[in-house]
């Protein structure tokens, strides 16, 4: 089985909210001081989904990451988890894309890779939270897509996917090749093992630029956008929290109840 997983390097979404700052003139987020970037969390779950199939059925797992100035320690994490190969689409031309220009570049790279049974993506990236690239890649490749998966099994050569809905989950069977986006309900991604980290350190990623995947720079990254960013801002937080005190935590709890009654909240 051949599996491709798309992984995006993002600013760490677990960085303390207080460290989040925007450069308003550039419409960009300033990387938080001393907090390294990470693989977008839902993409790690996509790697986990791929590795579970590899454990069960045997598979070659190829990870594909698009961006510029990708940090090798970060983008190699899926290799440390157990993926086999890493391909980087790395070039300034790939920067600043929207879902369209990003999906277009990734789809072209996947066409160049050639063989695949399943493509896994995270359901949405932790920076722009758009949730569109996966479906977009599938549309460009002309393959079926199933999104927001919590469980993926292979039954009779087809993928059987449980997808999350508001009041539970639905089960969908899809013919391969297919693209599946993964959600956190799948479960915790596995930790990198020491053996995995050492093996990953020895692996050299394959690096492709626009010419390697047969695109010109106008089609990808910020040049290829169909959606324009007009403004990026932080909502103003007004209001102060009134902290109820007490001699003991229990007394504070009692005072809280009394306060809520006083202001007619309860």
């Amino acid at each position: 089985m051949n599996i491709i997983v798309c992984c995006k390097q993002v600013l760490d979404p677990e960085a303390p909210p207080a460290s989040f700052k925007i450069d308003a003139a550039a419409n960009k987020v300033l990387p938080p001081q001393g907090v390294p970037p990470v693989v977008s969390p839902f993409d790690e779950q996509a790697v986990e989904a791929a590795l579970r199939l590899k454990d069960k059925l045997g598979a070659k797992v190829t990870v594909l990451s698009l961006g510029n100035n990708l940090v090798r320690d970060v983008v190699k994490k899926p290799l440390s988890m157990g993926a086999d190969e890493l391909i980087l689409l790395e070039d300034p031309a790939f920067d600043g894309g929207d879902s369209w220009s990003t999906a277009f570049a990734l789809a072209q790279a996947i066409k160049k890779i050639g063989q695949y049974d399943i493509i896994f993506c995270g359901r949405q990236a932790a920076d722009w939270d758009a949730g569109m690239v996966g479906s977009g890649i599938a549309e460009l490749l002309g393959i079926p897509s199933v999104t927001i998966a919590k469980k993926v099994e292979i039954v009779d050569g087809k993928a059987k996917v449980d997808r999350v809905v508001s009041d539970g989950f639905e089960t969908v069977e899809v013919m391969l090749p297919a693209l599946i986006t993964v959600s956190n309900e799948l479960g915790e991604p596995r930790y990198a093992t020491l053996k995995g980290i050492m093996a990953a350190a020895k692996k050299k990623p394959i690096v492709w630029g626009p010419a390697d995947i047969g695109v010109n720079t106008a089609q990808v990254g910020s040049s290829g956008r169909r959606q324009r960013l007009v403004k990026l801002f932080q909502p103003v937080r007004e209001g102060k929290c009134e902290i109820m005190k007490g001699e003991t935590p229990a007394e504070a709890g009692t005072n809280l109840a009394l306060k809520l009654r006083e202001v007619k909240v309860i």
Partner: protein
Amino acid sequence: MAEYKGVMIIAEAANDKLVNISGELLGCARKLAAELGEEVSAVLLGDRVAGFANELIALGADKVYVAEDAQLKDYQTATYVAVMEKLVKETSPRILLMGQTAMGRDLAPRLAFRLGTAATTDCIDLALSPDTKFLLMTKPVYGGNARAVFTTDLFPQMATIRQKAMSPLPADTTRQGQVIPVSVTIDPAQIKTKYLGKVKEEVAGIKLEDAQTVVAGGRGIGGPEGFKQLEELAKVLKAAVGASRPPCDNNWVPATIQVGLTGKIVTPELYIAVGISGASQHLAGCSGAKTIVAINKDPEANIFKEARFGVVGDWKQVLPAFTAKVKELLAG
């Protein structure tokens, strides 16, 4: 090339009722249509859905397109995209809106790519650019830490709307509108998926999305046992129980009660957050609450920036006394 006109929304129905998002989409669509001087249309897709058409007209639709077919009974990407692609090509709506729901999250991206246009998901505000009348779409990004305003010059201009972000208009049964049946011709050979069934994982009691009061627990609750105390408080307050992501990821509670960016959006009068740090992704789900109350042992926890009242302390010591006093006050 056809001229793109009108605001079209995709309605949703479940359990023999229109889902609230349908009215919210129509409320939003009517505002945009008024500014454009154009009409509002609604689309119903399903097996037996024509019965909802009159209600959609009462809620603001000038036209309702009804696409009925056994193959549309359960949502599937390929079938719904095929029907919508054909309908959009025949009607050329200027703006196409749907909910940021399990259906909308899946349908919008695939349909946008199919139509060669751009979509913006999870919008909390829509406006029209004064000169071009292009849609200005505002959505939370970076887990809710920031807001982005996007636009496009492609048509139809597509957006998915966050639930409870827009207001429905009051139903006006005197409103007139047209009901237009849509012929559905789906080639089964083109459909590479098969819907096998659904499993409901809802908890008994008050639904999170409808509750006036929500009691929610986070990583600080430590395990499923702790949630029993939250359930006790919820009973006293006639509240629904919710959770941030860690308790759901750890299987202490069902995933269906996750409140947050990728979970439920709740807008209760009162939201009590116990052992919740207040990460932006969680706040995205509860910041619409009228009053947020927080109990957390970390004085620096981000939740205190959103809460109106709080106690800094270990919930295991604070909550029992809080619950007891609330019980006493409500009984008296």
